[in-house]
Amino acid sequence: MGAVIENNTINGKPNQDVFSAALLELAEKDRNIVVVTSDSRGSGKLVAYGQKLPEQIVEIGIAEQNLVGVAAGLASAGKKTFAVSPACFLTARALEQIKNDVCYSDNPVRLIGISAGVSYGALGSTHHSLHDFAVLRAINNITIVAPADNFETTEAVKLAVKLDKPLYLRFGKKAMPLLTDDEHNGFEFGKGRVIKNGNDITIIATGETVYPALQGAEKLAQQGINATVVSMHTIKPLDAELILQLAKDTGAILTVEEHSVNGGLGEACASLLLQNNYNKPFKIMGIPDEYTVTGSQTEIFDHYGLSADGIAQAVLNLLQT
């Protein structure tokens, strides 16, 4: 497989756009699919969906607890329900509804967290979701997915329809490149995708940090350091088999995520590795435990080193330990 990174050209669309287009295509064929929104069809890129399928969209208004409760009721009656709302509100304000009405009651709602992470960068911490992996990881009976590129997003939507179990899918607003020209290596919830191979270190990234991780790996390759890069799109259930194999095969592990360093992908990997006697260099990159600097998503990524240069430097530092 080969990485498609040509002069940092963005050759894709925002995952959010891809999600809504994929869902529209599926919903036109399956009239049992229903979208529930909290005045969020615009930011969820669902205006066209609403115009074409007005009988398959339920507007709740700005009331996220009710959004999830109503979605649970719809799902319990057999509707293939997608509850779409900004990730920051969906997974904080409606957390009790997610825990009880969706997960505990096992109502198969597909929770779609739009504009996730620091996509709403300049709008401040009210609009950031840097807690969602952590809180949802601690809740039983939910799959947590952060697709990296348009391919993963499209596949995730298709699988979401079939899964028929509680699911959280989160993505952002920024145009994302296609990470690999090999779409045939498949996409399956719970199975990480190896985007690039190398023996010196494994970089396990998720969502919109996979791209800068891959760029960082390309820079390292020029210096003779060969990194494996994994898109760990599924945070839960974690692909323990792949991680433990790469722990053996490579010399160190760096995790990268658009999430607090507390409780997310990195700590999930750390827990797995420590309990399997991992003793090589390991580091978690993410947003530190502070109210973030504000700016665009890219500026926030740069500030905290979640950039090609920052990730490459973190690898160099880690390999010197």
Binding site: V34, E55, V58, I60, G61, A63, Q65, N66, V68, G69, V70, A71, A72, G73, L74, A75, S76, A77, G78, K79, E96, Q97, N100, D101, Y104, S105, D106, N107
Partner: protein, 276 residues
């Protein structure tokens, strides 16, 4: 089975005795609220709902969602009576590994949703009723709320949705016993007037004596009260109803009777049965 009015009234007394029996056995339970709402459950399951063990998996069954999940003992004795499970299962109430825990879960046959956290029943019921409208099905959705859970904001969010989507296949019942764990509703957080609030949200509202099975039968069999509007029944009840020393007493919110109190309560209920 069609019950006479007398049989229906007797059934409530039988249920009350069973609620007390299993709460005493478990040494735990929400006694006062279960006794206040049992007439409502009696009428729903014996006179109103099209649901039973035989059609519980049918997509066309009526749904009952108990938002005030803590009064699960009332639900359990009715479900057992309807044949969803053997009544002897309730001897395990709140015991280690029992499915019959202190709030409803779908592990118990006949329970629609896992509830217990308050303010959750109405949104789920609204979503379920909305699905019926979307699918052009005729089933109805009933949910029972405690008056003490009305300050939960999610109730009012769902009240808006139910009216917005004209969910006249949805009926919410408030077990309005006017007491909650700290004191009266009025002392804790005054929610009156409940009727005017819901009416202003677009609901059709009726009041009923929630411990009068005949009055309940009449009102619950006339939903929807208005075409195109969700229905609200404010059921005026007495917390601890049927046992003189438990009635209108906050301490019986989750008080468990001792042996003497239990025997006294059963004797009172037997006396009431003789006078039905």
């Amino acid at each position: 089975m069609v019950m006479t009015d007398k049989q229906l009234a007797e059934r409530s007394i039988t249920y009350r005795k069973k609620i007390l029996k299993y709460i005493v056995g478990a040494k735990a339970g929400h006694t006062g609220g279960s006794l206040s709402c049992i007439d409502i459950l009696n009428v729903l399951y014996n006179e109103v709902l099209n649901v039973g063990p035989q059609n519980f998996t049918s997509p066309n069954r009526d749904r009952y969602i108990q938002s005030k999940g803590h009064c699960v003992e009332a639900l359990y004795v009715v479900l057992a009576d309807k044949g969803f499970f053997p009544e002897s299962d309730l001897e395990t109430l709140c015991k280690y590994k029992s499915h019959y825990i202190g709030h409803p879960t779908k592990k118990v046959h006949g329970v629609e949703q896992n509830t217990g956290a308050l303010g959750h029943g109405l949104p789920i019921a609204a979503g379920t009723a909305l699905a019926a409208k979307m699918d052009k099905k005729n089933y109805r959705v009933f949910t029972l709320l405690g008056d003490g859970e009305l300050p939960e904001g999610s109730n009012w969010e769902a009240a808006l949705t139910a009216a917005h989507y004209k969910l006249d296949n949805l009926c919410a019942i408030i077990d309005n016993n006017k007491l909650q764990i700290t004191g009266t509703n009025a002392e804790v957080c005054n929610t009156d007037p409940i009727d005017a609030k819901f009416e202003s949200f677009g609901w059709a509202v009726r009041h009923v004596d929630g411990n009068d099975v005949n009055a309940l039968k009449e009102v619950l069999n006339t939903v929807p009260f208005e075409k195109g509007k969700p229905s609200l029944v404010i059921a005026h009840t007495i917390k601890g109803k049927g046992v003189s020393f438990m009635e209108n007493s906050v301490k019986w919110h989750h008080g468990v009777p001792d042996k003497h109190q239990y025997e006294t309560a059963i004797a009172e209920l037997d006396m009431e049965m003789a006078n039905v």
